[in-house]
C-alpha cells in the first residue's frame, strides 16, 4: 500500500544506515588522529576543544569550503553537459564566462542587470510589507484583550505550513478559472486576472504569496520585543501628554532596535535568497519573474551550463558580500561576535 514494500523500506534504511555508519567511522578516525597529534605529540592545551570541533569542521570543509573552491575552479572552465567528463580549465574560459554573465542573456532573453534590479525590487517590496505588516499585527496583539491566544495561533499558520505546500497551494489558487483569487474577483464584479501568463501579474502573485508567508515571523519576533518594553514608560509619556504616534516614534521604535535590526537583516538575506516562492509560483517559467537565485538554478539545472552558472553564482555572492560589508560599516563592526 502506498508504494511501501519491504524492499523499499529496507533500501532506504540500509542506505541511510550505511551513511550514518560512514560518518561515525570517519569521526572516530579523525578523533584518534587528532588525539595522537595534538594530545600526545604536541601536548596542546587546546587538544580537547579541537577534537570537539573536528567532526563539524570536517563536514563544513567538505560541504561548504571545498565546494566554494570547486565553484571558483568551475567558473574558469567550460563545463556543461557536453563537456561533463572532460572540461577544459583556463583563464580565457573564466574571462569568457564572466563576460557572458554581464553581456549575454542569463537564460534565453533576460540579461543580468534587469534580473538584478528585479531582485532588489522584490527584496524591498517584501521587506517593507513584512516589517510594516508584522509591526502592525504585533502592536494590535500587544494589548490585554480576549481571544489573544487564539489570534496568535491562527496568525502563525502561514509560517507553520511547510513552504513547499504553501507555494504549491497558492499556485493552484492563482489558477485563472478555479483559483479562489479570481473566483472572488469575479464575484465582486471585477475582471479576472491572468496571474500565470502576464509578467507583471505573475510578479504580483509571487509577492503576494511571499508577503503572506513572511508576515507571521516578523509579527511574532516583534511581539516578543514589544512585551519586553516596560509599561511605565508609556504611562510616563502619557502623563506628559504624548500622542500615540509620539509614543510609538520615541519609545517603541528606539527600544525595539535590538530586536528589529537582526530580524531585518535575516529577512533581507532570506528574501534575497528565497528559492521556493519564485520557483513554484512561476508555473509558466516566465523569465521576467525570475530573481537571481532562481535564474541561477535554471541556468545550472535546466540549461546545464555549469561553468557559466559557477561564474554567475560568484557574481551573486559578491553582490551579497558587498551588501554585508556596507551594512557592517554602517552598523559599526562585528563586535558582538567576539564578545
Amino acid at each position: 500500500m502506498g508504494g511501501l514494500t519491504l524492499e523499499s523500506i529496507t533500501r532506504s534504511l540500509g542506505q541511510v544506515g550505511t551513511t550514518v555508519l560512514l560518518i561515525l567511522v570517519a569521526s572516530v578516525v579523525i578523533e584518534l588522529l587528532l588525539y595522537l597529534l595534538l594530545g600526545k605529540a604536541l601536548r596542546s592545551r587546546y587538544a580537547l576543544p579541537f577534537m570537539l570541533l573536528a567532526p563539524a569542521a570536517v563536514g563544513l570543509a567538505l560541504l561548504v569550503v571545498y565546494p566554494i573552491g570547486f565553484e571558483v575552479a568551475l567558473a574558469f572552465s567550460n563545463m556543461s553537459l557536453k563537456y561533463f567528463r572532460n572540461p577544459t580549465f583556463g583563464l580565457a574560459q573564466g574571462w569568457n564566462n564572466f563576460k557572458t554573465v554581464f553581456t549575454m542573456p542569463v537564460l534565453k532573453q533576460v540579461k543580468f542587470f534587469p534580473i538584478f534590479l528585479h531582485t532588489v525590487l522584490w527584496t524591498t517590496i517584501n521587506l517593507v510589507f513584512h516589517v510594516t505588516g508584522g509591526m502592525a499585527l504585533a502592536l494590535l496583539l500587544n494589548r490585554p484583550m480576549r481571544l489573544r491566544g487564539l489570534y496568535r495561533t491562527l496568525l502563525v499558520f502561514p509560517w507553520a505550513i511547510p513552504q513547499v505546500i504553501a507555494c504549491l497551494a497558492w499556485r493552484g489558487e492563482f489558477h485563472f478559472e478555479y483559483g479562489f483569487v479570481n473566483v472572488m474577483l469575479t464575484r465582486l464584479g471585477l475582471t479576472p486576472i491572468k496571474w500565470m501568463t502576464s509578467p507583471s501579474w505573475n510578479f504580483a502573485a509571487i509577492c503576494i504569496t511571499n508577503i503572506w508567508l513572511g508576515i507571521p515571523f516578523m509579527a511574532v519576533i516583534f511581539l516578543g520585543g514589544l512585551q519586553s518594553i516596560p509599561k511605565d514608560m508609556y504611562e510616563a509619556a502619557e502623563m506628559d501628554g504624548a500622542s500615540a504616534w509620539q509614543q510609538f516614534r520615541n519609545i517603541t521604535l528606539p527600544l525595539m532596535q535590538p530586536v528589529m535590526t537582526p530580524a531585518i537583516i535575516l529577512g533581507t538575506i532570506w528574501t534575497f535568497n528565497n528559492f521556493n516562492v519564485p520557483f513554484f509560483i512561476n508555473q509558466n517559467e516566465l523569465e521576467t519573474s525570475d530573481i537571481l537565485v532562481t535564474a541561477l538554478f535554471r541556468a545550472a539545472f535546466e540549461y546545464n551550463r555549469y561553468g557559466f552558472s559557477a561564474a554567475f553564482a560568484i557574481v551573486i555572492f559578491a553582490v551579497l558580500f558587498i551588501f554585508a560589508v556596507l551594512y557592517i560599516r554602517t552598523v559599526g563592526g562585528l563586535k558582538g561576535v567576539y564578545e
Partner: protein, 297 residues
C-alpha cells in the same frame, strides 16, 4: 536609561483607575477585533481551501464554489492517494533521512558549541564569523559544485549524498544557538563536577547537556524542519521514481500538464497536520531560541 532603573510599579488603585480612564472605547476595541479577525481569515483561508479541495469528490474538483465543506464531501482522494500513489513511501523516505540527519546534526553542533563556549582557542573569533557568513551563501550557489561532486562520486539517486549534505546544512545556525545557550549556564557547575572527579567530557555529558535540553530540542526541531521541508537539494539529487521524498512527490502530483488537485490536497493535509501541530506546540521555544543568539550577541 534611568526609567528602567525605577522599581516596577505595583498595580495600585491609582494604576487601575488610570488604565480604566485611558482604556479604549468599545468602538475602538471592536475595530481592533475586526482587523485581527480579518487578518486571521487571510492567514487561515488558503489552508482551509486545501482541506476543502481534499474532501471534494473526484468529479467536482474543478469548481468555482467557495464553500469550505462541500455538500457531497468524501474521503475518496485520501483513499486514492494511499492506494494509487507512493505517498507512504515518500513519507517513509523523508522520515528516515530527516531523523538520521537531525540526530547527527545535533550531535555535531552540540560538541562544537561546547568548544566555542568554554575555550578561547586560537582562531575562535574568525571561526564564529565564518559560521555567520555561511548563512549568507545562497543554497542555490553551492548546488552546482555539490551536484557535480555527487555525480562524480556516483551518489546521484542514492540517499548517501543527500544525508551527508543535510547533516551539515544547519550546523552553523545550530552552533550559534547552542553556544548562546551554553554561555548562559555558569561554568561553576562544571568546575564543581570536575572537582568531584569528573573529566571535562563527563562534566559536559552529565552537567551541561541535561541543563541544555530546551536548546537541544529547539536545535533538533530546527534541523528536522530544514531537512523535512527541503526541496532543492532533493530535486537535483534524486530523480528515480521510487526514491522520492515527499516534497518531490507532491510536486509531481501538481505537475505542469495534469494537476491531480484532489490527491495533491489530500497529501498536503496529511503532511501538514503533524508538522503544523508540532510547530504550533513548540513555537514558543522556537522563537525564544531564535532571538536568544541575537539578543545575547
Amino acid at each position: 536609561m534611568s526609567v528602567q532603573a525605577k522599581p516596577r510599579k505595583e498595580k495600585t488603585t491609582f494604576y487601575r483607575f488610570f488604565h480604566a480612564a485611558r482604556g479604549d472605547s468599545p468602538f475602538k476595541r471592536l475595530l481592533i477585533h475586526l482587523v485581527l479577525i480579518f487578518s486571521c481569515v487571510i492567514a487561515v483561508y488558503p489552508v482551509l481551501r486545501v482541506f476543502s479541495v481534499s474532501i471534494r469528490p473526484g468529479d467536482r474538483l474543478l469548481s468555482t464554489s467557495l464553500a469550505i465543506i462541500p455538500d457531497d464531501a468524501s474521503f475518496g482522494n485520501y483513499i486514492r492517494l494511499l492506494t494509487e500513489k507512493d505517498f507512504l513511501l515518500w513519507i517513509w523516505n523523508s522520515l528516515v533521512i530527516t531523523m538520521a540527519t537531525a540526530i547527527i546534526g545535533v550531535i555535531l553542533a552540540a560538541t562544537s558549541a561546547y568548544a566555542f563556549s568554554r575555550w578561547k582557542f586560537p582562531g575562535r573569533g574568525p571561526a564564529l564569523v565564518f559560521l555567520l557568513t555561511t548563512q549568507m551563501i545562497p543554497a542555490a550557489m553551492l548546488m552546482v559544485p555539490i551536484y557535480i561532486m555527487a555525480a562524480r562520486l556516483k551518489l546521484i539517486n542514492t540517499y548517501v549524498g543527500l544525508t551527508i549534505a543535510y547533516c551539515v546544512s544547519s550546523v552553523p545556525f545550530s552552533i550559534w544557538i547552542l553556544k548562546g545557550y551554553y554561555d548562559t549556564i555558569p561554568v561553576d557547575l562544571e568546575e564543581a563536577a570536575e572537582i568531584d572527579g569528573c573529566s571535562k567530557i563527563s562534566a559536559f555529558l552529565r552537567v551541561l547537556l541535561p541543563l541544555s535540553t530546551p536548546a537541544l530540542a529547539i536545535v533538533f526541531l530546527f534541523n528536522f524542519m530544514t531537512a523535512w521541508n527541503d526541496f532543492m537539494l532533493a530535486r537535483i539529487m534524486l530523480q528515480q521514481e521510487n526514491m522520492l521524498t515527499w516534497t518531490l512527490g507532491l510536486q509531481r502530483l501538481q505537475g505542469q500538464f495534469q494537476t491531480q488537485w484532489g490527491m495533491f490536497a489530500a497529501a498536503s493535509i496529511l503532511v501538514m497536520v503533524p508538522v503544523m501541530s508540532l510547530f504550533l506546540y513548540s513555537s514558543k521555544w522556537l522563537i525564544s531560541g531564535l532571538t536568544l543568539g541575537s539578543v545575547k550577541g
